[in-house]
């Protein structure tokens, strides 16, 4: 059962909801052959991707997911559109709503903007990332990757490392992993930790060795240089020295720990290139693959209610 009209965040999902999405996604993930998973469950439905913020992989992933399910997919490049002419988000939403889309995939630079938009339209809205708030499909694809690799999504120790403060991926993952009863550690310099984060039921440290100790999963975050309005870290080289994932730091984790990264990576800043490419440890390419499967599952579950 997945009884939701929109997917705005992990916050609103129960553990059963999460399992339902992952189970459905598993059916799409079992084969890499795209012809085998092609179906027409969204045939006749219109999916609009509205990205108010640049994105390559997420937008492509949603587009492929929609197309594999038979939806008519349209991408709107919001950067170039009427939003630049001073039209408000609400007006844009109402205009689009009048075209009767069935599924709206939205990314926006402001926290809460996707939820605001969802209040004004009749279709299903999927949050593809809003400000520093949530990025639910990323957390779901991470969960699917972990579950497939580790055989379970409970009682794992997951270290999330790096720029937590500016990361919507971190927030969604903290919530999802917490709901599924895992032990979550956050590792990073104090300047990149949001205030009050320790009240989220996580352990917080600024020591990679302690944070990675016996971890089953090491999740690296992108150091969001474009969001830094000045001086969160002294230099990239000091950051790499203290927080960049290399073989020595990874040695503190369990021998079979997997390494994840939501991409795009800054090699030599938060992650060593060799670790990123190590097919025995890194599941970064698999995350991208699971991204399509999870987005197909989400689109189909939300689209089913609209047949």
């Amino acid at each position: 059962m997945f009884d939701h009209r929109h997917l705005l965040g992990i916050e609103h999902l129960s553990p059963m909801d999460i399992a339902a999405v992952l189970d459905r996604a598993d059916t799409f993930a079992t084969t890499p052959d795209s012809r085998a998973v092609r179906r027409d469950s969204l045939s006749g439905l219109t999916q609009i991707n509205m990205f108010f913020e640049n994105s390559t992989r997420t937008q492509a992933s949603f587009e492929i997911a929609g197309k594999r399910l038979g939806a008519d997919v349209m991408n709107m490049a919001m950067q170039a559109s009427s939003i630049k002419k001073g039209e408000t988000l609400i007006d844009t939403a109402l205009t689009l709503n009048a075209m009767h889309p069935d599924l709206l995939v939205v990314r926006h630079p402001n926290s809460g903007a996707v939820a605001l938009l969802a209040q004004k339209v009749n279709c299903a809205v999927i949050n593809a990332g809003d400000g520093r708030h949530e990025h639910p499909t990323q957390a779901l694809l991470d969960a699917l990757t972990i579950r497939r690799r580790k055989g379970r999504l409970q009682r794992l120790t997951v270290a999330i490392c790096g720029d937590i403060a500016h990361s919507r991926v971190a927030r969604s993952n903290i919530m999802l992993l917490g709901k599924m009863e895992n032990r979550v550690r956050l590792v990073g310099p104090k300047t990149l930790m949001p205030p009050g984060i320790e009240k989220f039921g996580v352990e917080v440290t600024d020591d990679m060795a302690a944070g990675l100790k016996d971890a089953d999963v090491v999740m690296m975050l992108r150091l969001q240089r474009e969001r830094m309005d000045g001086g969160f870290i002294p230099s990239e080289r000091e950051y790499y020295h203290r927080f960049g994932l290399d073989a020595a730091k990874l040695a503190h984790a369990k021998p079979d720990a997997i390494v994840m990264h939501p991409g795009p990576m800054n090699r030599g800043v938060e992650i060593d290139g060799e670790i990123a490419d190590d097919i025995n440890r890194s599941v970064i390419q698999e995350q991208v693959e699971m991204g399509v499967a999870v987005r197909m599952a989400v689109l189909e579950l939300l689209g089913e209610g609209r047949g």
Binding site: L89, S111, G112, A113, G131, R132, P195, G196, I197, F200
Partner: protein, 431 residues
């Protein structure tokens, strides 16, 4: 010589701290007499004796820090609409902010405001002027000329002067003229771009946030300058527990300092923002519940002198935006009294104590003789029922802008009639 009698009234006098049944005689725009017994109704012609039916008569509210959006944004609030909101809310004197567009920073602009108020507003309107030109924090305004034109205080509102040298000189100059300066205690660089108080909730919502300590830092700087210059200084809104020790020290040292807070910070907290409700976006941002309780205690203990509405009209357009982009501020003229009555119903204050914070203390700060039920004081009065319950409907407000955080909340207490200078300017419509 015409007299009006308000009888069978609960007389709430903050100056004597009394709440007694009696009558009050208005003559020539002033309170002529307070009677508690032997009231001879026969002395008053029909229509000039008003039976208050046991409801409360109190001195009208003196609301410091009201924004009227003239000039510049008259579609949000005009002198006429703000005046109507004021009489309905029980404010008989409003002290208006200079953060209009353009800023009120010349004597001509102050005169314009006084003229507009005389034309359109049924209440006393006292303008404040900016402390620095354009509220830009670079050059001080003509504090002398502005005082002569009628400015009662000087403030840059939420545009905190960043350059401490500029502020120091402006305060020194103002002190020389005996002018009152109203500050917004906030460390301006730290709070830049923030729309929430930092903590677990802001982190969960992913909104830019400022530490509550930024208020204390701003306050400490400003109080040090008060100590250096001797200027008469009032903090517009103290909203955090961490700021209170600095305020206490300044008081103990005998500095000419007073402090206010807004009704929103007394009755709401950060969780009211819920899922990005922009009507709860105010400046400074709503605080944690521990801070709200600390401020409430400080108010009860007299460390905070004044409660104001921080009336800030914003139209639907500027609020129907993502939280970060939405405009700050809430209307409050009509909801100040009913929201403040929560403090009475909650047992924190009695009615005379509440009206000390709403009427008497702000009147004293400004050197006005209203704010009390004393023979000779202006007959700026309200008649209100402190108990009547209702659900607030924001579309029923008289303000042009309807951005109240109390929409659909259960409220208790309503103004029944308002007099300004002895003239009745409002009577609630009987249903």
């Amino acid at each position: 010589m015409t007299q009006t009698l308000l009888h069978n009234a609960r007389l709430i006098d903050p100056e004597s701290g009394t709440d007694t049944l009696g009558a009050l005689v208005i003559e020539d725009g002033r309170i002529a007499e307070i009677l508690t017994e032997n009231i001879k109704l026969s002395d008053f012609p029909a229509g000039k004796a008003i039976d208050c039916r046991g409801k409360c008569v109190a001195p009208g509210i003196v609301d410091i820090g009201v924004k009227i959006c003239e000039p510049g944004e008259r579609h949000k609030e005009s002198f006429r609409s703000a005046g109507r909101a004021a009489v309905r809310g029980g404010a008989t004197t409003i002290v208006i902010r200079p953060d209009t567009d353009p800023t009120i920073d010349t004597p001509e602009m102050v005169r314009f405001q006084i003229e507009r108020a005389e034309d359109d507003a049924p209440v006393n309107v006292l303008p404040m002027a900016a402390l620095t030109k354009g509220r830009a924090g670079r050059e001080m305004t003509e504090i002398g000329f502005l005082t002569d034109a009628g400015a009662v205080a000087f403030t840059d509102c939420d545009a905190v002067v960043t350059d401490t040298k500029v502020l120091s000189r402006a305060l020194t100059y103002a002190a020389g003229l005996g002018a009152l300066v109203i500050g917004h205690p906030q460390e301006p660089v730290l709070s830049h771009g923030a729309c929430m108080t930092s903590g677990q909730y802001a982190s969960q919502l992913g909104l830019p946030a400022v530490s509550p300590l930024a208020e204390r830092m701003g306050l400490e700087r400003d109080l040090a300058l008060v100590e250096a210059t001797g200027v008469r200084w009032h903090a517009d809104q103290i909203t955090t527990a961490a700021a209170l020790p600095a305020l206490r020290r300044a008081r103990a040292a005998g500095l000419p300092v007073t402090a206010g807070t807004s009704i929103h910070h007394l009755t709401l907290n950060e969780f009211d923002v819920a899922d990005y409700r922009t009507f709860f976006k105010v400046k400074p941002p709503l605080r944690a519940e521990e801070d709200r309780l600390a401020i409430l205690t400080a108010l009860v203990d007299g460390e905070i002198d004044i409660v104001c509405s921080m009336h800030t009209p914003q139209d639907e357009e500027s609020k129907r935006l993502p939280f970060e982009e939405a405009a700050s501020g809430a209307v409050g003229l009509e909801t100040l009294l009913p929201a403040a009555l929560q403090l009475v119903h909650g047992g924190y204050l009695d009615l005379p104590e509440l009206f000390a914070k709403l009427s008497l203390n702000p009147a004293r700060l400004l050197g006005l003789d209203c704010g009390r039920l004393t023979p000779g004081a202006p007959a700026d009065l309200i008649l209100f029922d402190p108990d009547v319950p209702y659900v607030l409907d924001r579309w029923s407000l008289a303000s042009k802008s309807k951005n109240t955080p109390y929409d659909l909340r259960r409220m208790q207490g309503r103004v029944l009639a308002t007099w300004v200078g002895g003239t009745q300017v409002y009577a609630e419509e009987r249903k």
